[in-house]
Structures are given as structure tokens and as C-alpha cells.
Amino acid sequence: MEVMLSVIIGFMIIASITAIYAKDLLSAIIAQGFVGYGLVICFLILRAPDLAIIQIVMETVTLIIMVAVVLDSSREEFDIMPDKTQGVTIAASFLFALVLLIYFNRAISGLDRFGNHTLRMSEAYVTGAAEQTGSANLVAGVLWDFRGYDTLGEATVLFTAAIGVITIIRLVGKK
């Protein structure tokens, strides 16, 4: 199980490096699609069919929007101007990596080994939850019963993003 996942995640890392360093923006977007669809396979292996369904739909819609944007404007990633501050940014990214590594080390020491997760708070959501909420899909039960506030907040963010897109993109003002 762990070996299979590692191979898929390794391919995803290679694809993301390709996406970042590709000269053509269209091929960068295709490589990003590879990462997204690899994530779908990871979700299926991790027994999360809800996430797999939603990720495959969302990745497709994202690809459509991104390809439309790039085909509308320019496809090349300029390289006319040499980057003078290249050294500074690379040093900054390594510094960031170091800081994140410290926090990652701290977080990982508090976790269980992969596959031996102990249910702490989720114990209440798993045992006897179906009798309380009446929903056979426990994810839907957590989403809309135990953690309703969270989901309402996320729906509000989606609403705000749609309004923001309309506001930013409008060329001609409304009468």
C-alpha cells in the first residue's frame, strides 16, 4: 500500500517540477492536470470516494478555465529579460524550506505512523453517528450535522469568490 502510494506521489512530484519549469504555459497546465488526476488515484487508494468524485470534476473545470485563459493571451513564458534577482529568490526559497522543515519535523513527531491513526475526536463521529444523524454516508453526517458552521462558512467563501469574479472582470459598468 505504502509503496504504491509512494510511486504515485513520486510521479506527481516529477510532474509538478515539470509544471514549474516548462517554457510553454500550455504544457505547464497539462503537467498540473497530471498532478490533479494523480491525486484522484491517491484518494481512491486511501478509501475516500467522496474526495475522488469531487476532485476529478473540479480538476476538469480548472483545466478548462486555465486553457481558455492561456489560449486567449500569450503562451510563452517570456525569457527576454534575464532575472537579476535570481540568486536572492533561490536563497529565499531555501530559507523558507528550512523554516518549514522545522515545523514539519515538529508536526510529524506528534503523529502516528502511516496507517495506524487513532481516532480521538472522530470516535464520537464514527460510533453511533448513524443513529443520531440517520445518514449512512458518515462524511455527509460530519459535514452537515456535527460541523455545519464550517460548511456554511465554506459556502459563503464560494459565494464571495463568484461575486468577486464578476466585479473584477466587468469592463462596462452597469447602468
Binding site: I53, I54, D72, T133, G134, S135, A136, N137, A140, L158
Partner: protein, 145 residues
């Protein structure tokens, strides 16, 4: 944005209805099977996006469509909020209270308010994605003029 060839148009007409029905199924059976309102709404939006991509932007009268989808989105969020607020009035005073009887897990009509939330959030997600896509299409029309 121009439409595509006749073959693509016919196939899109055949397929988009099926995709729409599948999205509605995913949204309404969210409490029994994998899926739920978010995934179902995205599928329904995908059916509309497929029709617009195949038939070109002359297919819908764009301005009015964008206003309509934005209004539907607002109404769906409002309905979900209203359903949550009724929980304050019914029984114990808890926001997001599941006030309908839970029923037997595994039946279609079970889970209290969860199926209703799923339906409304499905409408909201579909309308939001449609609004974003239509805004981009309208922008493309305006700059090409």
C-alpha cells in the same frame, strides 16, 4: 467564441442531459452514497459548460443568463441559511440543529435535514461555477468586439 462541428454539437446534446441527471442523482443521494451537494453541483455546472463550449457563445443570451445564475446562487445560499436558522426555533436552541426525525439509515428519506442541505448546496455550487464561467465568456466576447 464560435461553436464546433455538427457531430460535436449532436454528441453534446445527447451527453449533457445524461450528465445533468447523474449530477442530480449524486446530489440527492449524498447521504447514502459517495458524493453530496458539492460534487453534484459541480457535475450539473459541467453539463451546462459542455453545452456552451460545443454550441458557441451565441447559444445563450449571455447577459441575462449571468444575472439569472447569480440570483439563483444567492437564493440557494439564503435557503440553506434559513434551514439552519429554523433549528434555532425548533426544539433545543441550536444553530444547525437536525430537527427532522433521522429515520432508518439506508433509506432515501432519512438523515433529517441533510438531504435538503445537499440539494440547496448543489444548486448553489452549480450556479456559482456557472456564474464564474459565464463571466469569463462574456469578457471574451467584449474584448473581441
Amino acid at each position: 467564441m464560435k461553436g464546433m462541428s455538427l457531430i460535436v454539437k449532436k454528441m453534446a446534446q445527447l451527453m449533457s442531459g445524461l450528465i445533468f441527471v447523474y449530477g442530480a442523482y449524486i446530489a440527492t443521494h449524498g447521504h447514502l452514497t459517495p458524493g453530496g451537494g458539492f460534487a453534484g453541483g459541480a457535475l450539473i455546472a459541467g453539463a451546462f459548460i459542455l453545452m456552451i463550449l460545443a454550441n458557441g457563445s451565441g447559444y445563450v443570451r449571455l447577459k441575462r443568463q449571468e444575472e439569472g445564475s447569480s440570483a439563483v446562487e444567492s437564493a440557494a445560499v439564503l435557503m440553506a441559511l434559513l434551514l439552519a436558522t429554523i433549528g434555532l426555533a425548533a426544539g433545543t436552541m441550536v444553530f444547525f440543529n437536525n430537527y427532522l426525525p433521522p429515520g432508518i439509515p439506508g433509506r432515501l428519506i432519512s438523515g433529517g435535514v441533510i438531504p435538503l442541505y445537499n440539494v440547496f448546496i448543489g444548486i448553489e455550487v452549480a450556479a456559482a461555477l456557472m456564474t464564474i464561467f459565464l463571466a469569463l465568456v462574456i469578457y471574451k466576447e467584449e474584448i473581441s468586439k
